[in-house]
C-alpha cells in the first residue's frame, strides 16, 4: 500500500513537471460566439466532434445573431467569433477587438415565400423580387435583430430603393427574432422571408413556404472567423483559439465543412483564402 502511494505521488510530480514544461492545449476549452444559422443548421454538431478529436480542445458554442456575437467578442466573453457579416467583421478587427479576419466558407441566402407567390416575386434577380414584394405590399418577415441575414436584407431593400423601416407599413413585420423563429412566423403568416439556405434546409415547419429566389450572386453569404484580441482581453485562449482557426481552413476542416449535407444537399461551401 505504502509503496503504491509513494509511486503515485512520484507519478503525480512527474506529470505536474511535464505539464509545466510543455504547456499543452490538450483538455482546454474555448468559447466560440457564432450565429444561429451555423448552430441551428446542425453544422457545429457535425464539425466540432471532428475538431475535438483531432486537437483535444473542447469547443463551446454560444449562438446569437451576428451583431450580438460580435458584441460578446468585443466584451471579451468569447475566444473566437464565427459570423457572417464581412463589413461588420472588418470593423471588429479595425477597432482592435479582433486580431484578423479569416474567410472560412459561404452558403447563400434564399428568398422563401408562399407557394402561390401573390407578389410574383419568383425569379433570379433578388432586387427586382424585393421591388415586387414592395409594390404588392404582401407580408414580409424581417429578422430585425442586426444579424448578418438582417444586414443582407437591409442591403437589398436599399438597392431596391425602399426604406421599409420609415414607411412603418403593416406588411413589413419587424420580428426581432432569430432565423428559426422568423421562419416559424413566416410559415404561420404565409409571408415572404429572407433566410440562409442552411437554416432553411434544416427547418422542418415549412407549411406552404417555398424557395422563390436563389442563385443571384448578391445572395452569397460569407462566413469569417476572428480570434478575439488577446492584447485587449488577456484571458483569451489565443493558442487554442488559433488552432481552431487553423483547423477550419486546413484541408481536413474544409472537407469536413463540405461533407455536411441534409437530404443530399450541401449546406456550406469551403472558401478559405490561404
Amino acid at each position: 500500500m505504502k509503496t503504491l502511494r509513494r509511486f503515485n505521488a512520484r507519478a503525480a510530480v512527474v506529470a505536474l513537471l511535464l505539464t509545466c514544461a510543455a504547456p499543452s492545449v490538450q483538455g482546454t476549452s474555448i468559447i466560440v460566439a457564432s450565429t444561429t444559422s451555423t448552430e441551428q443548421s446542425g453544422l457545429f454538431a457535425h464539425l466540432l466532434p471532428a475538431f475535438e478529436k483531432a486537437s483535444g480542445i473542447k469547443v463551446k458554442v454560444v449562438a446569437a445573431g451576428t451583431g450580438q456575437a460580435l458584441d460578446i467578442g468585443r466584451r471579451g466573453d468569447a475566444d473566437i467569433v464565427f459570423v457572417h457579416d464581412p463589413m461588420a467583421e472588418e470593423r471588429f478587427v479595425a477597432d482592435g477587438s479582433g486580431v484578423s479576419r479569416t474567410a472560412v466558407m459561404y452558403n447563400d441566402f434564399v428568398l422563401v415565400g408562399p407557394g402561390s407567390d401573390p407578389a410574383r416575386a419568383a425569379g433570379a434577380d433578388i432586387v427586382s423580387s424585393f421591388k415586387a414584394i414592395f409594390s404588392a405590399r404582401t407580408n414580409f418577415v424581417s429578422r430585425g435583430d442586426k444579424s448578418g441575414t438582417h444586414a443582407a436584407e437591409l442591403r437589398f431593400w436599399a438597392q431596391a430603393g425602399v426604406d421599409p423601416l420609415t414607411t412603418k407599413a403593416a406588411w413589413y413585420r419587424d420580428t426581432g427574432s432569430a432565423m428559426g423563429a422568423a421562419l416559424n412566423t413566416a410559415a404561420a403568416m404565409n409571408a415572404y422571408v429572407l433566410t440562409d439556405r442552411a437554416t432553411w434546409l434544416a427547418f422542418k415547419n415549412r407549411r406552404d413556404l417555398k424557395i422563390l429566389v436563389e442563385g443571384d450572386s448578391r445572395l452569397f453569404n460569407q462566413y469569417g472567423v476572428i480570434l478575439v484580441n488577446p492584447k485587449k482581453h488577456a484571458h483569451v485562449k489565443a493558442q487554442a483559439g488559433q488552432s481552431f482557426i487553423d483547423w477550419l481552413v486546413s484541408a481536413d476542416g474544409q472537407s469536413t465543412i463540405a461533407s455536411y449535407k441534409i437530404g443530399g444537399a450541401q449546406l456550406f461551401f469551403p472558401h478559405a483564402k490561404k
Binding site: Q40, A181, K204, R206
Partner: protein, 234 residues
C-alpha cells in the same frame, strides 16, 4: 392534433430510451434550478424572518419592493447578470459567464424575491395566530420567529416549490447568461427554444412534456417528504 400525439410519442420514446443528451440536459436543469432554490432559500428565509420581527422603518418599503420584485422579468435579470459576469464587467474575473455557475446566479436573483415575499406573508399570517401564545409563554422575538418558521414548514415548502418552479421554467435568464452551449449550459427550456427555432415543433413539445414530468416528480417527492414527516402522528 397529430402534432400533440407525435410529441407525446416522441416524449415517451426519449424517456424510455434514456436518451443520453436528454438526460444530461434534464440533469443540468434540475441541478441549476435546485441549487438556485437552495441558495435563494438561504437568503430569503432569514430575510423574511427578519422582516416579520423587525419594527424598523425600512420594513414597509422593503416588503413593497420584494413584492414588486416577484415580477422581475427573467431577460432583465439575465441581461444585468450577463453585464456583471462579462469579462468587461465587475465580476468578469470569476469567469462565470456561459457556465452553470452564472446560470445559478441569475436564477437565484430571479427567485429570491419570490421566496422572500411569499415566506414573509406566510410568517406574518402565522404570527397573527400565535402572537398571544408566544407572548404568554414569554418567548423572545427570535425564539418566536424560529418557532414560526417551524410551524409554517409545510407552507414554506410550497413557497420553495414555487421558487423552484419559476426557476426551472424560465428561459430568458439562462439563455442570456448560459448561452445555451450544447453539453455545457443547455437546459430544458433553452433546448425547447432551440428546437422551436429549428421548426422541430414535435420535438420541442416533447421536451416540454418531459420538463413538466420533471416538475411533477419534484413536487411528488416534496409531497411524500411532507407525508413522511407527518407520519409520526397517529
Amino acid at each position: 392534433m397529430s402534432l400533440i400525439v407525435d410529441s407525446a410519442l416522441e416524449a415517451i420514446r426519449l424517456m424510455a430510451s434514456g436518451d443520453a443528451r436528454l438526460m444530461e440536459v434534464a440533469q443540468l436543469s434540475v441541478r441549476v434550478s435546485g441549487t438556485a432554490t437552495i441558495i435563494a432559500a438561504l437568503i430569503a428565509l432569514p430575510l423574511a424572518a427578519w422582516l416579520v420581527q423587525t419594527r424598523s422603518a425600512v420594513r414597509a418599503p422593503v416588503v413593497v419592493m420584494l413584492n414588486a420584485c416577484m415580477a422581475l422579468p427573467p431577460v432583465i435579470v439575465g441581461l444585468v447578470v450577463y453585464l456583471l459576469l462579462s469579462r468587461s464587467g465587475p465580476l468578469g474575473a470569476l469567469g462565470w459567464l456561459f457556465t452553470p455557475n452564472g446560470m445559478i446566479v441569475a436564477q437565484t436573483v430571479l427567485i429570491t424575491p419570490i421566496i422572500a415575499a411569499l415566506a414573509r406573508q406566510t410568517l406574518d399570517d402565522a404570527q397573527l395566530e400565535y402572537r398571544d401564545l408566544f407572548g404568554s409563554l414569554g418567548l423572545s422575538r427570535w425564539q418566536s420567529v424560529a418557532t414560526l418558521l417551524y410551524e409554517t414548514r409545510f407552507s414554506l415548502l410550497i413557497v420553495l416549490l414555487a421558487g423552484f418552479g419559476r426557476a426551472i421554467a424560465e428561459v430568458g435568464a439562462v439563455m442570456m447568461v448560459g448561452g445555451n452551449i450544447a453539453g455545457e449550459t443547455r437546459v430544458m427550456t433553452t433546448a425547447i427554444a432551440l428546437e422551436t427555432s429549428k421548426g422541430e415543433l414535435a420535438s420541442a413539445l416533447a421536451l416540454g412534456m418531459v420538463l413538466l414530468l420533471i416538475v411533477l416528480v419534484v413536487n411528488a417527492l416534496a409531497q411524500s417528504a411532507k407525508t413522511w414527516i407527518g407520519r409520526r402522528y397517529v
